[in-house]
Amino acid sequence: MKMKTIDDANKAVIDKIVGAAPFLVDVVPAHTVIPELEEKALLHAGPPIAYQDMTGPMQGSCVGAVLFEGWAEDEAEARSMLEGGKITFIPCHHVKAVGPMGGITSGHMPVFVVQNRSEGNEAYCIMNEGIGKVLRFGAYSEEVINRLTWMKDVLGPTLSRALQSTKDGLNLNVMIAKAITMGDEFHQRNIAASLVFLKEISPYIASLDMDKQDMQSVIKFLADTDQFFLNIMMAASKAVMDGARMMEAGTVVTAMCRNGKDFGIRISGMGDQWFSAPVNTPQGLFFTGYSQEDANPDIGDSAITETFGVGGMAMIAAPGVTRFVGAGGFQDALATSNEMVEISIDQNPNFTVPTWDFRGICLGIDARKVVETGITPVINTGIAHKEPGVGQIGAGTVRPPVECFEKALEAYAAKLGLV
């Protein structure tokens, strides 16, 4: 295609999003696909950040990961390693990965492997640990480490073997398209997709030659974990957006992520460069006993789902959670999704939303439209307690600072020699 204008460039980028074919093919130890993790290194969510600048939950996750890897005997030793600069920190996004909340990923954690077969690229994401005391919210008690160890020893290998026996992997487009008609928006609500996943994978698990009790514990974990599919969705979104940004031109937002301090975005025309500004703090509903005061600033790579067009961008798809995320009901959800259309280049015909007259999900956030209208993407998000280890205290919505988009456009204009 002959590219004349930025609109043409953007069209080429979104064509790659529509044409993407993500497949879940395996679950493997992170270090086997991310060589950087062979060293004493940890991945984190968001744009680059130093340990001392991390908020409580992310630091707590680091402690947990150091303990999990067995690099330290106890918390004190772990903290002194982290503070002493003994650990290298790498943003997940720099190594084809994404991580929820703290996003802390270490070499022996199992990660999903999603292949985007249209472009031949891969993306990775750790598995969902469920709710309550979990590493991603900064908890690092024995219970947390034990669960991570079980995931490494039992859950990961089981899913890997089951996926191997599917031969082709699981076609995620199909699962996403099904679940969106069942009321998921894939960020706040994944229960339908998680059940679809369980439905697809359980026959393969059942035919594995393995310990009966382990098998039972895997099935029970998958059945109990409503948000299990979120991390698959994140890896799928990452695979699709990384495939699309091989087309290095235009103003399509190709990543959005937060490290608790800064919100970072990438746009198609600027490749790997981050454009950051201080994050906002999510607003929403809180579990009893917690309030807005306890909320950690916005954190996590999960906004990759909004970048792809689901999550807050597809609020209307999940009427069931609109109240939970602080919106005032169906009309507000409709208004939110309609507003998101204003900053999107098109709508994705692969994923149509029944509650939206079968319109497709938002396709390609155009940074120009964000700056022009002042409408920033809506991100659905869990809310972490600002102290490590407390975990999730609520859920709500948050928006990126518009400055990220302004900086990106300014840089792109400079690159094109326009300013």
């Binding site: 002959k2 590219m3 004349k4 204008t5 930025i6 043409d8 460039a9 031109a249 103003t251 009309q331 208004a335 507003e339 259309v341 204003e342 120009r368 439209k369 700056v371 022009e372 209208t373 002042g374 409408i375 518009v402 302004e406 456009l409 300014e410 792109y412 204009a413 094109l416 326009l418 300013v419």
Partner: protein, 586 residues
């Protein structure tokens, strides 16, 4: 003490905020309040009114700035609650409406592919750019916004003319297309009289009089006040006349304007003489002595309506339309010698000034300084809709505060005999002006009585029985408050003159044939013909309340909740423009 509250990303249009400011200012314990969006211009206004605080530094164009001077800090929560309630009431009423709202031209066009008219009511400095976009999308433009530089207006109108499109405005307050009232306009019956006018309240007075006299309106096209200036050369007026000449519903054409520049007047008159339909022309301020051919010339707005009605019925036009005026008996003190006119409608104010100047036989009675249109022999007519009264305040047709203040002042003046004012009903105006003005009128009259004076109030009530405010109810409420209510501005003024024992007569006009036969009219463009052949499909860019009259008329409208591009950030606007224009090398 001054308290500042910044509500981030909470855009509201300025009219809403001015109403909100009044609402908050009226709360107990509030000395002064100002609520505005944090644009640089608004911050200047805050600075000038002594309400600037350091916190405003942080506010941007999309942030709502609330500055309150109130007794004690404890009032603050109460005030904030009142603000939130006011704003949420609004959002409830907007969320219930079925109008689609969008935030970009692109989506507006997508939602309404058949749109043929854009109504633009954005801040003046943005109006030309938005109107140009409308023209580029092939839409006619109705520009309510004012403060557009003359050269921008000319450029827009030339472009529109070339494309066969019509630009109504800028500063176009009113219009009626196929019965659909636009902006400040009245619901009038359908009929065979088409109006093109350069004056808002002039069009409203003529169309409502025609309606109440039993006639009807095909279309009323506003041109904006400067269209007949030498600089613009009546581009819209000429295209409007051709549109009506071509329009099968229109059998009589009414043209309303202030006296235009000589050559512009000649150009328009030549066009009118070339029409095959009868015409009534009113150049307000001129006292015509004759009718020429099929072009009839009127002196007042009421006479304009009466001639048009007769022409519409095919009845021959009378030489004069004198309406008998019954002078109410008055008891005045010797020092009570002056008429104080407090007008909301600019053209109505000008008409009042013209009639009074005529009665007083003033040589050059009409002035235009500090809001006065007449100030002579103790009499004065003030146009409260003049820019000097509306800076940072709502127009007196929407909000009574300025007028109430002036009523108090005029009543306190011992020389005042009669207070004359207008009330313009219809869409856009106040819901119940009688109920808010009556108490002020009662108070002023009582105060004068205490001081041993009788004070008289005469009102011209402009509107129709189909208007959202009930004409009969409004009239009754004013009469109960002791106001003498007249159904036209002409009659109201003449009643006042009679009360003051001032006399004036209408000179009968003779009818002479037209001089040379004029060239036959050029046809209207297809797009203008289409605009006048059925109800418009509208994209409303700006003030959302303008959608009400359109939806209630069964016409299609999409609401474009307009915001300045990039929140008014000039640097980002430039970058966006550059990116949008960019071409990759082949």
């Amino acid at each position: 003490m001054l308290n500042t509250i910044i509500k981030k990303n909470a855009y509201q249009d300025s009219v809403n905020l001015m109403l909100l400011t009044n609402h908050v200012s009226a709360l107990q314990g509030v000395y002064q309040a100002s609520i505005m969006m944090g644009t640089p211009a608004n911050k200047d206004i805050m600075r000038n009114s002594g309400l600037y605080t350091e916190e405003l530094e942080q506010a941007g164009a999309n942030d709502m700035c609330i500055v309150i001077d109130a007794e004690g800090d404890d009032k603050l929560d109460q005030i904030l609650a009142a603000v939130d309630e006011f704003l949420s009431d609004q959002s409830v009423s907007t969320s219930q409406s079925s109008t689609t709202s969008v935030r970009s031209w692109e989506r507006a066009i997508k939602e309404s592919p058949n749109a043929n008219l854009a109504m633009i009511s954005v801040p003046g400095q943005y109006a030309a750019a938005e109107a140009e976009k409308a023209l580029d999308y092939g839409l006619h433009a109705f520009i309510f916004s004012d403060n557009m530089p003359l050269e921008e207006e000319l450029k827009l109108k030339q472009k529109a003319h070339e494309k066969g499109l019509l630009v109504m405005g800028p500063d176009c307050g009113t219009g009626i297309l196929s019965g659909v009232p636009l902006a400040f306009a009245n619901r009038v019956k359908a009929g065979n009289i088409g109006v093109v006018g350069a004056s808002g309240t002039g069009i409203q007075e003529v169309t409502t009089l025609i309606d109440r006299m039993g006639g009807g309106i095909s279309h009323a096209i506003g041109t904006g006040g400067r269209d007949l200036s030498e600089g613009v050369g009546a581009i819209t007026m000429m295209d409007g006349i051709r549109g009506l000449a071509n329009n099968s519903q229109t059998e009589v054409i009414v043209v309303i304007s202030k006296p235009p520049a000589r050559e512009v007047r000649d150009k328009v008159m030549l066009e009118l003489h070339g029409l095959s339909k009868p015409v009534v022309a009113l150049f307000l301020g001129e006292k015509p002595a004759c009718h020429e051919g099929h072009v009839y010339q009127a002196y007042t707005l009421e006479e304009t309506a009466r001639i048009a009605i007769d022409l519409g019925k095919g009845v021959s036009v009378q030489a004069a339309y004198s309406v008998p005026i019954e002078a109410p008996s008055v008891e005045l003190k010797p020092e009570q010698v002056s008429i104080q006119g407090l007008y909301a409608g600019g053209t109505l104010a000008a008409e009042a000034a013209m009639l009074i100047a005529d009665a007083l036989q003033l040589q050059d009675g009409l002035i235009h300084e500090s809001g006065y249109v007449l100030r002579s022999n103790g009499h004065s007519i003030v146009d409260l809709g003049d820019d000097m009264y509306t800076q940072g305040k709502p127009h007196p047709m929407i909000d009574p505060a300025t007028r109430i203040q002036h009523i108090e002042n005029a009543a306190a003046d011992p020389s005042t005999a009669v207070i004359l004012f207008d009330v313009v009903l219809g869409y856009g105006g106040h819901d119940d002006m009688a109920s808010v003005l009556a108490p002020a009128i009662g108070k002023a009259a009582a105060k004068a009585r205490e001081e041993g004076r009788n004070l008289y109030f005469v009102a011209a009530l402009c509107g129709t029985h189909q208007d959202p405010q009930s004409y009969t109810e409004q009239k009754r409420k004013f009469e109960e408050a002791g106001v003498i209510v007249k159904e036209s501005n002409n009659q109201a003024v003449r009643t006042v003159l009679a009360m003051m024992k001032l006399d004036m007569e209408d000179m009968p006009k003779h009818h002479r044939p037209a001089e040379a036969a004029a060239a036959s009219t050029k046809p209207a463009s297809e797009a203008i013909e289409a605009l006048l052949s059925s109800k418009p499909a509208v994209i409303n860019v700006g003030l959302s309340k303008f959608t009400a009259s359109i939806t209630e008329s069964g016409a299609a409208v999409v609401q474009y909740d307009w915001r300045p591009v990039a929140g008014g950030n000039a640097k980002m606007q430039h970058i966006l423009h550059q990116l949008n224009q960019y071409r990759f090398e082949e």
